[in-house]
Amino acid sequence: MTESSLKILVCDDSMLIRKKLKEVLKSCGYGNVSEAANGQEAIDIYKESNPDLVFMDIIMPFKNGIEAVKEIIEFDKDAKVVMASSAGTKEHVKEAIKAGAFEFVQKPWEKEQINKILVNLK
């Protein structure tokens, strides 16, 4: 799989965060990025397009990130989900990992952190 073909889904209820993360991903060479504004949207898009990697916020309206990860993992046990939240409490990190996320990034993230995750994924 080449870098440019990697399909990434960014799920955050903040359009500012989605925009900034997309910019960072693009600058790292990943341009194939779709967006979701809440957990339910992320599940729907995941089922439809089967992305290679998901960045998922936790606190969101309608369906939060932890519930969304559980459903995505239920659908695809090999799904790769990175939780990206400002609320990186011990409890949230534990819940996220338990739900099936493989990494947790505390907001505000730096470009280097995002790039490291992408490099490790290869």
Partner: protein, 290 residues
């Protein structure tokens, strides 16, 4: 940060006028801090002694430190300590005021003394606040006496101010906080923190300031109250509250929070109102506990 508080104090206590303060704030960028001001601020010399050394300097070609040691006003190690000490912001302001003849050394000495007295500040606290220790500044300036969550709310406010400095503007200070039974907001974002501590938090501002705040956080120029402006201020509050949750989690208090919401001209009940002054206008941090 402390220089903003000190400047406001000098203005409120009529040591100087608004236009003098503005001129001095501009001048302080290029000011050369002198040992006399440092020694008075540290309490090692009084203004009279500093003036005498300045007079001596007109007759003898020696440095201020050398003459002060010869006159036994200072010890050599104190001179070394002062010369290597941090150039605190409020001292640059004071030096600028002295250079411009808006304030004498005596007045500066008096202002420092009265300031410590007014806020009942110990030497240790003064040392902390002049180093821009946000927790200590908030501890001195924010009054939540009698509130059962005083420590937790002050911790919240200090974090909020640190994030303002980090993401919005370092030239920030708080005005006197109040507690009101009812408050009508202008443009506000709100988020609830819940579990063992239940706080409703808000950022409130007039539209123009709200949009400027949003632009600063988004790092792009936003021109009106559009979805991006609302989202940007909401995300700032969300980030701050998330970091608050992490801090509380680290001391064993697990909290959670709800998604933030935006509203206009809504009346809210029983809340603390903390005005926060930024170079582009005033925002208010509202906190009510449920």
């Amino acid at each position: 940060m402390f220089s903003q508080y000190f400047g406001k104090y000098l203005l409120d206590e009529k040591y100087l006028t608004k236009s003098q303060l503005n001129t001095a704030l501009e001048h302080q960028k290029s000011v050369r801090l002198k040992l006399g001001v440092l020694a008075i601020n540290a309490g090692y010399m009084n203004a009279q002694q500093a003036s005498l050394v300045h007079q001596m300097q007109t007759k003898v070609d020696k440095r201020f430190g050398e003459l002060a040691v010869e006159a036994e006003y200072l010890k050599e190690e104190q001179v070394e300590e002062l010369l290597s000490s941090q150039r605190f912001g409020h001292l640059l302001l004071a030096q600028a005021l002295i250079d411009k003849n808006y304030m004498s050394l005596e007045k500066f000495e008096g202002a420092i003394y009265e300031y410590k007295k007014k806020y009942n500040i110990s030497e240790l606290q003064f040392d902390a606040i002049q180093r821009d220790d946000v927790d200590e500044i908030i501890n001195i300036y924010v009054n939540l006496e009698g509130d059962k969550y005083e420590t937790e709310i002050k911790h919240y406010i200090a974090l909020f101010m640190r994030n303002i400095i980090r993401f919005i503007d370092s030239e920030v200070y708080t005005n006197k906080n109040t507690k009101v039974e009812e408050y009508k907001t202008s443009c506000a974002v709100s988020q609830r923190i819940k579990n063992s501590i239940n706080l409703q938090t808000y950022i409130n501002a007039k539209e123009e300031v709200f949009v400027k705040f949003a632009s600063k956080y988004a790092e792009e120029e936003l021109l009106s109250m559009d979805e991006m402006a609302k989202d940007s201020v909401g995300e700032f509050l969300n980030l701050n509250n998330g970091l608050y949750l992490v801090g509380m989690s680290n001391i064993g208090i697990e909290l959670d929070m709800e998604p933030q919401s935006v509203f206009f001209e809504k009346t809210i009940a029983s809340t603390y109102v903390l005005p926060i002054e930024l170079p582009f206008g005033k925002i208010e941090l509202l906190i009510s506990h449920l």
